[in-house]
């Protein structure tokens, strides 16, 4: 682990410092390249020198061969010496040697170190006689030849005939006694005139050779060259036969440097390129690495932050393993809430902490979550704490797996809602109490908007009273307005609007059509709720007052009946006061007059008058009796009567009068119509109305009486109309059906017929109405119930 870490950090180090890495890589490549290049350089240089050495060797070999030839020549010459130590045929031998070896300039025999024989003699006379063994100039080389007993080449030196030459000396022993030398003189030019030498590329190399002075050990360069000899750039070879040192010097020692400089530059470029590439290669990861570090720092901080949030949250938070349902991690608040410690919680699961009644519900939601049917869910349920206490909580469950993945873990956030639940319960209880209170009230409690009259509350009592459910009432706009009896609607709405505008509580009555179609009387007691000086809503209670209304109606009816009876009673008192009193007062006056009468004649006149008063009184009494009979006769017998038959009967009774006045009777009544009536009353009603119509006919025109029968409001109506003189109903309408009310001075008018008619119709439970226009005619309508 640690190792990996250090490695990682090492790697990281490279990655983090891309520039340094680049430079290091650059240097590494520089070293590698320079090593390679120098190696190559060395190889190239060696190859060059090897080539030079080979060339030099060839030259060396060629020179060596020449020198061997000269040795043979020198030996040949020495053979010309006879046993006496005198050369024989020197001239001829010399000539022959020169002829075969053109390189040899001259040959010499030097007995005892003194030059004695020279061929050709010409040109070389100067050398004759020189004792070389005693000459400082030549002795070292001469002795060297004796010493080595080989041919030793001396020189080069200036030839007397000009040019450089070398002298090969071979010590000759005769009878093991030093004789002298055999010598050949060779032109240097010819010696060097070798193909190897000539073919040498002089642009590349130059040749030099030196002689090491035997005496001084000093090296003397022989060839004249422009170039300066640098031993560094040269290969050497030593020819011991002459103590010569051959040099082959490289004319262009630096020719290899230039291409290698280019190569070096190329390598440098390549190295820097690699370095740069490495830098840029590591630069991106470095940025990423820095970002990564920052991010991981942030992540760490966030983790700390979330950890503290997790721990210090005011709500309980748990991580739950979705497979086992166990709490893998819980926070402090959860522990406080449930009473379990963090360790204890880890061995627990949903089922062990949830109220038994809520487990099923919770599992159902979880299953949905697992099946991806829902993305998350909230649920109000009960936990049971360690100490057995029930805690109401609101849990929010969020999955930690992505869509399509199998469930792994989920988070549960737990909020303690016990207090709220408690408060809720109190509210619900009190609401229920109020609701049940409202619903027990024997009236419909309601609330609606003051402007739109849309109901937002109506108590359940509405179903008992009107049959509508409160839901349909509330959910249907204008339900109330649409169910007021059309007759009452305008008044109700107007009144309501007026009172609301005045912000006045009101109390009024109207009718509503119930669900079963019955009409229900409602007393509506309304409170106007004012907010901000504006009528905001209306609240009230509707009470079913149908029964009260019925009672009221009955009361009204009986009141009307009583008033009617009162009226009749009053009428009766008038009858008594007017009709009876008028008779009694007349009697009283007549009696007075009789008492004060001055003659028998006058007395008789008064008695006659008294008699007529008595008759009138009797008639009045009879009429009164008849009316009392009608009014007191409660159980009048009724039967089904044919209307036409009774009408015809009446018309035949009135036949004379009809004929006399020329009345036209138009009847639309056929013999199918039957009415349930008392026979005498029907006869009387028809007689009175038709005889009235005949009596009050207009004398300017032919009287016409129309008799019709029809149904109006489920009641049979018999209508009798004439074109007679008519009645001014404005003046007399109120007393038309009164007793002794007459509207004309007609001689037959008694003022009793209509009074009796009305009484009879009333007694049958019907009614009579009149329509009339003076001078146009009158129409009576008899309603038969």
């Amino acid at each position: 682990m640690k190792l990996t870490k250090s490695l990682t950090s090492h790697n990281n180090w490279f990655i983090i410092k891309p520039k340094l890495t680049g430079i290091l890589v650059f240097l590494l490549f520089c070293i590698v390249f320079s090593l390679i290049i120098s190696q190559q350089y060395q190889i190239a240089k060696k190859a060059k020198y090897d080539a030079m050495r080979a060339k030099l060797q060839a030259i060396h070999k060629s020179i060596d061969e020449s020198l061997k030839n000269y040795y043979v020549d020198a030996l040949t010459l020495s053979l010309s010496i006879n046993d006496k130590g005198i050369p024989e045929n020197f001239e001829a031998v010399g000539k022959q040697i020169l002829a075969t070896n053109p390189n040899i300039d001259a040959v010499q025999l030097v007995p005892n170190g003194i030059i004695k024989y020279t061929y050709p003699e010409k040109g070389n006379q100067a050398a004759k006689g020189i004792d070389i063994l005693n000459s400082k100039k030549y002795c070292f080389e001469a002795f060297k030849a004796i010493e080595t007993r080989k041919m030793y080449f001396a020189g080069p030196f200036e030839l007397r005939q000009g040019g450089l030459g070398i002298l090969g000396r071979l010590a000759i022993y005769k009878n093991n006694k030093f004789w002298g030398f055999s010598a050949v003189i060779i032109r240097l030019e010819t010696l060097l005139k070798k193909p190897e030498f000539v073919n040498l590329d002089h642009s590349k190399y130059f040749f030099q050779f030196s002689k090491i002075n035997l005496n001084t050990k000093k090296e003397t360069f022989i060839l004249n060259t422009k170039e300066k000899l640098d031993p560094e750039n040269a290969v050497t070879s030593i020819i011991p036969d002459g103590d010569w040192k051959l040099y082959l010097v490289d004319k262009k020692p630096n020719e290899l440097v230039f291409p290698f400089v280019i190569r070096s530059l190329l390598a440098l470029f390549l190295a820097s390129l690699i370095g740069f590439l490495i830098t840029s290669f590591f630069k991106k990861p470095a940025e990423l690495e820095i970002l990564l570090r920052k991010q991981s720092d942030k992540l760490l901080k966030n983790e700390i932050k979330f950890k503290s949030i997790f721990d210090q949250a005011a709500v309980g938070i748990t991580y739950v393993d979705s497979h086992t349902g166990k709490f893998s991690e819980v926070n402090k608040r959860f522990c406080e809430l449930t009473g379990y410690s963090s360790e204890e919680s880890k061995s627990m699961d949903l089922e062990s902490i949830t109220h038994p009644e809520d487990i099923k519900k919770s599992l159902l939601f979880l299953e949905k979550l697992y099946k991806h049917e829902i993305e998350e869910f909230s649920l109000e349920k009960r936990y049971i704490s360690k100490y057995g206490k029930i805690i109401w909580v609101n849990i929010t469950v969020s999955p930690l797996w992505k869509k399509g993945e199998t469930p792994s873990n989920h988070i549960v956030i737990i909020e303690d809602i016990s207090k709220r639940k408690k408060a809720d319960k109190i509210i619900i209880d009190s609401q229920k109490r109020i609701e049940s209170l409202i619903n027990t009230v024997d009236g419909i409690v309601w609330e609606c908007d003051a402007k739109t009259l849309e109901f937002n509350f109506i108590s359940k009592k509405v179903e008992d009273i009107l049959g509508y459910t409160s839901e349909e009432w509330i959910n249907t706009p204008d339900f109330w307005t649409n169910h007021i009896l059309p007759k009452d609607k305008e008044f109700t709405l107007r009144y309501c609007e007026e009172q609301t505008a005045l912000k006045q509580n009101h109390d009024f009555e109207y009718r509503i059509i119930a669900k079963d179609g019955t009409i229900v009387w409602m007393r509506d007691i309304v409170n106007v709720i004012v907010e901000n000086n504006e009528a905001k809503s209306l609240r009230g209670i509707m009470i079913d007052v149908t029964k009260t209304k019925e009672i009221e109606k009955e009361l009204n009816n009986s009141f009307n009946l009583v008033s009617e009876q009162n009226k009749r009673l009053l009428n009766f008192s008038y009858i008594v006061s007017h009709n009876l009193r008028s008779h009694t007062s007349n009697i009283s006056s007549i009696v007075d007059l009789i008492e004060t009468s001055e003659s028998e004649e006058e007395k008789e006149e008064m008695v006659q008058l008294l008699k007529s008063v008595s008759d009138s009184l009797n008639e009045t009494m009879l009429n009164l009796n008849e009316i009392v009979n009608i009014q007191t006769n409660v159980g009048i017998v009724t039967e089904n009567l044919n209307l036409k038959q009774y009408l015809d009967n009446t018309l035949s009774i009135l036949g004379d009068q009809i004929e006399l006045k020329g009345v036209t009777v138009v009847s639309s009544i056929d013999d199918t119509i039957e009415v349930n009536y008392n026979p005498a009353y029907l006869q009387s009603v028809l007689y009175n109305l038709i005889s009235n119509a005949i009596r009050y006919s207009h004398h300017d025109r032919n009287p016409v009486i129309n008799i019709d029968c029809y149904i109006e409001n489920k009641k049979t109506v018999v209508q009798i109309s004439d074109n007679g003189i008519g009645i001014d109903l404005n003046k007399n309408g109120h007393k038309i059906f009164g007793m002794y009310k007459k509207f004309s001075t007609h001689k037959d008018s008694k003022g009793i017929g209509l009074f009796i008619t009305k009484n009879q119709i009333d007694a049958m439970g019907g009614s009579i109405t009149v329509e009339s226009e003076p001078n146009l005619g009158t129409t009576f309508k008899v309603y038969i119930s």
Binding site: S573, Y574, S577, H578, N579, R581, S582, S585, N586, S588, S589, I590, D592, L593, T596, L609, S612, V613, S616, K731, Y740, K742, F743, S744, T745, S749, G751
Partner: protein
């Protein structure tokens, strides 16, 4: 005193006969006329206005009458009043004992008094004086 005229407006013919007898006996009035309803009396008043004849001094008016009753007469009379340049004393004489009628009579400024039938000679003398 002898110049006074009295009108009886009543639909009861027996009452008319009786009143005539009493008026004659009283010897206060020079003449008397009877009308069986208010309309007849109004028509006569109109005639008097036209012919510029003498208006009655006293009218005894019944309430219950056909065509035009006592109250109807009073209304018509009020319309004619500007054209009448004499003082006519109108008394109600009715068999009605209803209080309403009495009150109504009292409230009408054109009616001087209410006499319940029967009207006696003494009553007549009293109103005439």
């Amino acid at each position: 005193m002898k110049e006074k005229t009295i009108w009886i407006i009543d639909d009861d013919p027996i009452y008319q006969i009786i009143m005539k007898k009493i008026i004659v006996k009283s010897e206060i009035f020079s003449s008397n006329f009877s009308f069986s309803d208010g309309k007849e009396a109004i028509d006569s008043l109109k005639k008097i206005i036209l012919k510029n004849e003498k208006f009655p001094d006293i009218i005894l008016l019944d309430i219950e009458m056909p065509i035009l009753d006592g109250w109807g007469f009073m209304e018509e009379f009020a319309l004619l009043k500007p054209q009448i340049n004499a003082e006519i004393k109108i008394y109600i004489s009715s068999s009605s004992i209803a209080i309403e009628d009495k009150e109504r009579a009292q409230n009408n400024p054109g009616i001087l008094g209410y006499m319940s039938k029967p009207v006696t000679l003494d009553n007549l003398i009293k109103i005439a004086s």
